[in-house]
C-alpha cells in the first residue's frame, strides 16, 4: 500500500469514527448499532498504521496488494452488516404491523362502547 493511500485511509477512518461518536452524542444512533462501525474502523486503523501487519495478512490470504485486501474485507463486512440491518428492518416491520392492528382494534372497540 502506498504512503499516500495510507494517509487517505487513516484520515477517512478517523472521520468515520468521529462521525459515529458525534451521532452517538446527539442520540441519533443506538450504541449497540454503532459499536460495530467503530470497531471496524479502529481495526482498519491498526491494520494500516502498524507496519508489517498489513503485508503479512495480505500474503497469508493470497491477495496481490494490501489495498485489494482492505477493499475486499470491507465489502464482505458491509454485506454482513446489510443483512443484519435487513433483519432489523423486518423485525421492526412486524412490530409496527402488530401495533397498527392492535391500536385499530382498540379504536373500534372504543367507538362501539361509546355508541352503546
Amino acid at each position: 500500500m502506498s504512503f499516500n493511500l495510507k494517509i487517505v485511509s487513516i484520515i477517512f477512518s478517523l472521520f468515520i469514527i468521529v462521525l459515529i461518536l458525534a451521532l452517538l452524542k446527539k442520540n441519533k444512533i443506538n450504541i449497540k448499532y454503532s459499536i460495530v462501525w467503530i470497531i471496524l474502523f479502529l481495526l482498519l486503523q491498526i491494520l494500516i498504521i502498524i507496519p508489517g501487519v498489513l503485508s503479512f495478512i495480505t500474503r497469508c490470504l493470497g491477495f496481490q496488494t494490501g489495498s485489494n485486501m482492505v477493499i475486499s474485507i470491507i465489502i464482505a463486512l458491509l454485506i454482513v452488516i446489510n443483512i443484519v440491518l435487513t433483519m432489523i428492518v423486518s423485525n421492526q416491520d412486524k412490530k409496527i404491523r402488530l401495533l397498527i392492528q392492535e391500536i385499530s382494534i382498540l379504536k373500534n372497540k372504543m367507538d362501539d362502547d361509546r355508541n352503546e
Binding site: R97, Q101, E102, S104, K107, N108
Partner: protein, 237 residues
C-alpha cells in the same frame, strides 16, 4: 355457530355499501346470521366515512398494511369475539356471497379445517376464469405446492376461503403477510390439517384494480415460489 365475514377493503368506496347490502339481503333470505367486519386498510377515499354513515361494522387501520395485515386484523377480531368460523371475502365485488353456505359446510361437518372457494375445480362453475397468463401463474404455484405438500390445490390464489376456530387462533398470531393466499395454504397443509376446495363462481372485479399489477407479475411469481419453497421445505418454524 358464529360466522364472521372478514372483508378487507382498500379504497373501495364504490363497492363497500353494495357488498354489505348484498350480505344483509342474503342473511334475510336464508335466515343465516353472518356477522361482517370490514377492515378498512387505511383507505385514502371515503371507505371509512361510508362505513360510519351506514353503520357497517368496521375496523379502520390507522395506517395501510396491505392485504395480509388487513386480513390478519380480521382474524384477531374473530378470535377476540369468539367466532367459530371466519370467511375471507374480498371487498371488490369479486366474490359471490351466495357460495358462503357451501364454503362453510365442510367445516360445520368437520370434514375440513380450511375451505377454499375454487374457480377451477369444476369446469362449468365459473364464467370468469381470469386471463390465460394468470391461470398459467396459478398452475405453476399449484405445481410447487404439490411438490412441497403432496396435495393438489387448484385455485391457489383464491382469496375466498373459510377457516375453523383452530385456524382462526393460528392466523391471529401467524398470518403470512406476504403472498398470504398460497403461503397460508402451504402452512396449513404442513400442519397436517385438512384443506378442501369447493367450486365457486367469481365475478370480474367490478370497480377498483387488482392488487397485482401487470409489470409486477414475474416478480410476484418468483417471490411466491420462493416463499412456498422456504415455508414448505424444512421443519417447523
Amino acid at each position: 355457530m358464529k360466522v364472521l365475514l372478514i372483508i378487507p377493503s382498500f379504497n373501495e368506496e364504490d363497492n363497500v355499501l353494495d357488498n354489505y347490502n348484498k350480505i344483509m339481503n342474503y342473511n334475510k333470505k336464508y335466515k343465516s346470521n353472518f356477522d361482517v367486519i370490514v377492515i378498512d386498510d387505511g383507505s385514502s377515499d371515503k371507505t371509512k366515512e361510508i362505513c360510519e354513515e351506514n353503520d357497517i361494522p368496521h375496523i379502520s387501520l390507522v395506517h395501510n398494511l396491505g392485504i395480509g395485515g388487513a386480513v390478519q386484523t380480521g382474524y384477531k377480531y374473530a378470535l377476540i369475539n369468539d367466532f367459530d368460523i371466519a370467511i375471507q371475502f374480498d371487498g371488490d365485488g369479486q366474490h359471490d356471497i351466495n357460495y358462503a353456505n357451501k364454503l362453510i359446510e365442510p367445516i360445520i361437518n368437520e370434514n375440513a379445517d380450511m375451505v377454499i372457494g375454487s374457480r377451477f375445480i369444476d369446469k362449468t362453475s365459473s364464467k370468469f376464469k381470469s386471463s390465460k397468463a394468470r391461470r398459467f401463474g396459478i398452475n405453476i404455484i399449484s405445481i410447487f405446492m404439490k411438490i412441497v405438500t403432496g396435495k393438489k390445490i387448484y385455485d391457489t390464489t383464491s382469496g375466498f376461503r373459510a377457516v375453523n376456530k383452530k385456524l382462526i387462533q393460528y392466523f391471529a398470531i401467524n398470518y403470512p403477510v406476504e403472498y398470504p393466499e398460497p403461503v397460508s395454504t402451504v402452512e396449513v397443509l404442513k400442519k397436517k390439517m385438512c384443506v378442501k376446495e369447493v367450486p365457486v363462481s367469481m365475478n370480474e372485479r367490478e370497480n377498483g384494480i387488482s392488487s397485482i399489477k401487470t409489470w409486477k407479475k414475474v416478480y410476484y411469481m418468483i417471490n411466491v415460489v420462493l416463499s412456498i419453497l422456504t415455508v414448505g421445505i424444512g421443519g417447523k418454524k
